[in-house]
Amino acid sequence: MLRRQILTGVGAAALALAAFPALAQETVKVGLILPMTGPSASTGRQIEAGARLWIAQNGDTVAGKKIQLIIKDDTGAADQSKRLATELVVNDKVAVLGGFGLTPLALSVGPVATQAKVPAVIMAAGTSTIVASSPYFVRTSFTLPQNTAPMAQWSAANNIKTVVTLVSDYGPGLDSEKAFKAEFEAKGGKVLETLRAPLANPEFAAFLQKAKDLKPDALFLFVPSGQGASLMKQVNERELAKAGIKIIGTGDVTDDDQLNGMGDALIGMITSHNYSAAHDSPENKAYVSAFLKATNNMRPNFMSVGGYDGMALIYKALEKTKGETDGAKLLDAMKGVSWTSPRGPMSIDATTRDITQNVYIREVKKVDGQLYNVEFATIANVKGSN
């Protein structure tokens, strides 16, 4: 009995969905697949807020079409991402897919995008190889090599001779480790040891102690967005700085979302990244204040601009196609687009479909009683992948 009621409920829902395509002439649907629950939930929240902010600021119509945003929770499980992508394409007839919080989630959707010829905008995942895995992938986030190489260059130029790297043991972490090692050793430095901590790991003591015992000039860190706080807490506790080891890393570690709570011990830490909430530009000032207002004071991080710029890219592509939603045409319209985002100038490479953007070297500083990543050097137009 209960089961039948649920089934009729589902049936009604399915009918309601089936009725939608009739409206599809006026409405363009954008389906975002994000981890809204589970360990990567903060990524999903930031991207959703960023995407919604763009729509709130720029209106929900573009080129005469009404934009409808559909958010789906994949809980961070790749088979769910894939199923939701299929349903969005087949049932909801979305014109564009977007989101993808982690590398495996994006990779699982690749075949769906290819088969359905629907552009998929990667707003978070950062392994360099993803975009090449489907001709319909476009990226508005960043890649790890893109963000890491400038850190290695800066280190080599600033009297750091030996480094130990500690990264999370999965795609982006290994990408980051590889990029750092290659760039740093090409510039004459030496990587003493490459440590990899399991992705789900509450305790870094063994790795940090090992790094400390090797006595490098600096320790390079990468963990995915959301895990920086745990790591830095233990880094502080182990007093690596007192032992003369400089802490460097990608901006994922000093995530704006959590930075303020990490404590003053972080002041002076150097990172390289594509976005800081403290980026000094009128676009960013407007973005940050609007974002804070819209989200009840959640500070925007690099994931949020991925979502914001992802929507920007979709709007710009629709303007170019004059509202035409054919997948191949939209994809073509996305290639080569450039504009000024809150993060600074950015563009979509016409051949690789990956993001080209400025990468900044930043130092953790206290501004108005709050911790920020303050940018002090810019490496312009770094390509996402080759």
């Binding site: 629950t37 360990p39 939930a41 903060s42 999903g44 509450p202 063994a206 745990s230 007093e239 709570g261």
Partner: protein, 286 residues
């Protein structure tokens, strides 16, 4: 070398402090309470809120977290849990997992999904040297508190009237009732203490790990490993097991990183095969 040993012990203590409350509810009351992590999370988030919003000193947050979680536990015991004592273990699992899901969504609603951290007071940060090794002051603090707890709990269980009544109530509720022991009240108090200990564990945990809404699930495996390896009939069993597991894990990851991830699980499986009732358990398993 000694540093690694101390780090391992400290990690073990963290595991123990998070698991000790479960040791009380599961071991003494024979109730599979997978929602244990939710009580620990309540203690952790209370500490975070008190410190960040109200500026309450950390040391005051610890008893506050204990009381808060204990009261929460008592309320839930009186309203929900007591209906489940005579149900099967599987029903208990289903029920307490349901509670975990609800707790996760509620914390998410109230605090958001990002990780929350606290900054410890100055006198608990830093490191001190100890026989040529160095250890974080906070880790030492956790080790001391845990040791005191173990001694205290063990004394209460074995030396006090309450302890013997509790053991009687667990062993045979009907006979205990017949002897004039108020079993219902004893169970309620014990459950509250177990939940309170979880809250205290969560509060102490804020000094080392960060909290997010997935906490109860993320650490559930660790609680269960400590309890099952240590055995459920004593408090000292899980205590020793936690030290063993902590040292093995940290040392393993330090010396043989390639197999570091396997160590805890392998120890658990091997121990349980050789001694199904747990390493330090007396008497047969229940």
């Amino acid at each position: 070398m000694l540093t690694i040993l101390l780090d391992g012990i400290a990690y073990g203590m963290l595991l123990f402090i998070l698991a000790v409350g479960l040791c009380v509810t599961l071991g003494l009351m024979n109730f599979i309470n997978l929602a244990h992590g939710a009580f620990a999370m309540a203690g952790g988030y209370l500490t975070i809120t008190l410190m960040q919003q109200a500026g309450v000193p950390f040391l005051l947050c610890l008893p506050a977290a204990f009381i808060f979680a204990a009261v929460l536990g008592l309320l839930l015991e009186r309203t929900l849990y007591r209906h489940l004592y005579d149900k099967t273990h599987l029903d208990q699992v289903l029920f307490s997992i349901g509670l975990v899901f609800m707790a996760m969504a509620m914390v998410d609603y109230a605090y958001g999904a990002n990780q929350q951290i606290v900054n410890l007071p100055d006198f608990l940060t830093g490191r001190i040297n100890f026989l040529g090794a160095s250890i974080g002051v906070y880790r030492l603090f956790v080790i001391v508190i845990c040791s005191l707890l173990v001694v205290g709990l063990q004394l209460i269980l074995t030396q006090t009237r309450f302890g013997s009544r509790l053991r009687a109530a667990v062993d045979d509720g009907r006979v205990a009732r017949g002897m004039g022991i108020d079993v219902t009240r004893i169970f309620a108090v014990t459950f509250a203490v177990g939940s309170g200990l979880a809250g205290l564990g969560g509060a102490l945990g804020t000094g080392i790990i960060s909290f997010d809404p997935t906490f109860p699930l993320k650490y559930m495996i660790y609680f269960l490993i400590v309890i099952s390896v240590g055995g459920t009939t004593t408090i000292t069993g899980p205590f020793l097991a936690a030290i063993l597991l902590g040292v093995a894990d940290v040392a393993g990851k330090y010396y043989v990183p390639a197999v570091g991830g396997f160590i805890i699980y392998t120890i658990m499986v091997v121990v349980l095969i050789l001694r199904p009732q747990g390493l330090f358990s007396r008497g047969p398993a229940r």
